[in-house]
Amino acid sequence: MSEPLLTVPPLLSVRGLRMHFPVTEGIVRRRVTGEVKAVDGIDFSIARGETLGLVGESGCGKTTTGRCILRLERPTEGEIIYDGANIATLDGKALSQYRQRIQVIFQDPYSSLNPRMKIGAIIAEPLHVHGIEPDTKKRDARVRELLSVCGLNPNFADRYPHEMSGGQRQRVGIARALAMNPEFIVCDEPVSALDVSIQAQVVNLLEDLREKFGLTYLFIAHDLSVVRHLCQRVAVMYLGRIVEMAESDALFDAPLHPYTRALLAAVPVPDPTVEQGRDFQPVKGEVPSPMNPPSGCVFHPRCPMAVPRCSQQRPEPREIRPGHIVACDEVR
């Protein structure tokens, strides 16, 4: 599989990544009875300063992919090349050093902040863990700076998470991610738990920070409109595989894979005139179990374009136009 020629090597490059989880039965004697192929052979890369969107429905493996890159999971197979080095098998001190360069923003600002810690302590914790800023005064100053960078009053350092609204908490989560001056941030559904009127504020903040600090994002989300707004390129996952990947506008204006088309058509647009004007047929069926994925193309049982060979042969991703990759043999 080829990808667009990059003049500089990408910051992150994922090759043949697989993450399989064992399924066990029995309480006293555990037996492995199967495996969930959460991520089943994916390739992508992200250039420095770029934002790649990773979209798909629950269970498609997008969060697991993020967790592998953060090395919260050790991948079953494959390489994760970060800035020239394979980090898929790192451990010990080298892993700790790698983790200083990448950070994560979680979905739920209610469960991802420790309710017993003050905001200041939450933001300072990564500095503390990595022994970056032992001087308390300097650390406090850094916390106040991070709060104001994220659009919060620096005095919030003395408050507890429960005193803040959802949008404010998510800003705290972002400030914590920035504390280590990371180059790369995995954003795992960072706005989906927020109220509609607050989402745009946080999206704008993420954009501002990207520009200000030259950040690179992997943006995992199921809200496709936010992805279109924020990402330069988008990869669509289905049952552990990438079915389509392209520049944002190319993917959203002219999706090629039948799953991407179904996914985009399912999203209602906030405009009654547009909605009344289209003939909408939702895709049939539900996502099959990743424990027992369909043979051949994993989407074939639901696919309106499926032909007999789709159930036998797994379609390999191919570059159908420059920079536009599709894993479907029926797409020309």
Binding site: S197, I198, Q199, A200, V203, S248, P268, V269, E275, P282
Partner: protein, 324 residues
């Protein structure tokens, strides 16, 4: 013809440690037979509490309906004796809630949960009820209904569970279904299936539908009329096309402007609604949206703006600045 449901000046409050929360603060709207009405708003805007008040499902204490009338098919639901009200809940008014896993009973089979409804409301025998349950599952698009009836909720997928919820809501031929965020917990392709199913069923059976949601796209695709709520009040109300193409309340305007659109190339920057959602324990006498409003001036602090007609027929907004 009078509307099927007429909610008039409804007030519901909760007594909390932080003070009295007026979750619903003078809400009026109507639903005609067979029509789909959307109630849009963010968390805490009072959209769900309004619906729960209609069904008298507000936990008391801490909640209490303090004023207003709810007329459904000629009867005032707020003064109806409890046994009569029980006939209406799940009978003439069906309900579909957000989280199908928590609103179905985990220790009863799917079949039992449906037959329970029809036995209670219709006095059908067990055998008749079982037949009805099978027919209902078929109607909501569940394959192999006989097998599914014997299964428990945890054996079904989220989309399937929501189909079961719809089957229960349909069980007694309701005149109205209240769907509170029916697809928020579901994936987007399943959301589309469920909404299309609800649209087809309500259209074919002539059932009125109140759909409570925060998703502006869902409203645009499915609703005839829209009520926008903010801080316990309806701030704008009207036909869906009017609300989207000629919004008059600054909150509606700001909300529509803030959402990125899937069908348009990216804009340079989103234009968010500034500020934080209101704290309902600390509202003053003025307009609740005032702290976030770009048009607000001293006049807005004096009183709550009433909902008055603006623009074309049936369109109203609660804003001193909304030009008539």
């Amino acid at each position: 013809m009078p509307p099927l449901l007429d909610i008039s000046d409804l007030h519901t409050e909760f007594r909390t440690g932080a003070g009295i929360v007026r979750a619903v603060d003078g809400v009026s709207y109507t639903v005609d037979a067979g029509e789909t009405v959307a109630v849009v708003g963010e968390s805490g805007s009072g959209k769900s509490v309004t619906a729960l008040s209609v069904l008298r499902l507000i936990p008391d204490p801490p909640g209490r309906i303090t004023a207003g009338t709810v007329t459904f098919a000629g009867r005032d639901l707020l003064t109806l004796p409890e046994p009569e009200m029980r006939k209406i809940r799940g009978g003439e008014i069906g309900m579909v809630f957000q989280e199908p896993m928590t609103s179905l009973n985990p220790v009863l089979t799917v079949g039992r949960q449906i037959t329970e409804t029809v036995e209670q409301h219709r006095g059908l025998s067990r055998a008749e009820a079982a037949k009805r349950a099978e027919a209902l599952l078929m109607q909501v698009g569940i394959a192999e209904p006989a097998r599914r009836l014997k299964q428990y909720p945890h054996q079904l997928s989220g989309g399937m569970r929501q189909r079961v919820m719809i089957a229960i809501a349909l069980a007694c031929d309701p005149k109205l279904i209240i769907a509170d965020e029916p697809t928020t917990a579901l994936d987007v392709t399943i959301q589309a299936q469920i909404l299309e199913l609800m649209k087809a069923l309500t259209r074919d059976l002539g059932i009125a539908l109140i759909i409570i949601t925060h998703n502006l796209g869902v409203v645009a695709r499915y609703a005839n009329r829209v009520n926008v709520m903010y801080a316990g009040r309806i701030v704008e109300s009207g036909p869906a096309a009017e609300i989207y193409h000629d919004p008059r309340h600054p909150y509606t305007v700001a909300l529509l402007r803030s959402v990125p659109r899937l069908d348009r190339p990216r804009q340079a920057r989103l234009d968010p609604v500034e500020g934080q959602p209101p704290d309902l324990t600390r509202l003053d006498a003025g307009c609740a949206f005032r702290p976030r409003c770009r048009l607000a001036d001293e006049g807005c602090a004096v009183a709550r703006p009433p909902l008055v007609p603006v623009g074309n027929a049936g369109h109203s907004a609660a804003c001193f600045k909304a030009a008539a």
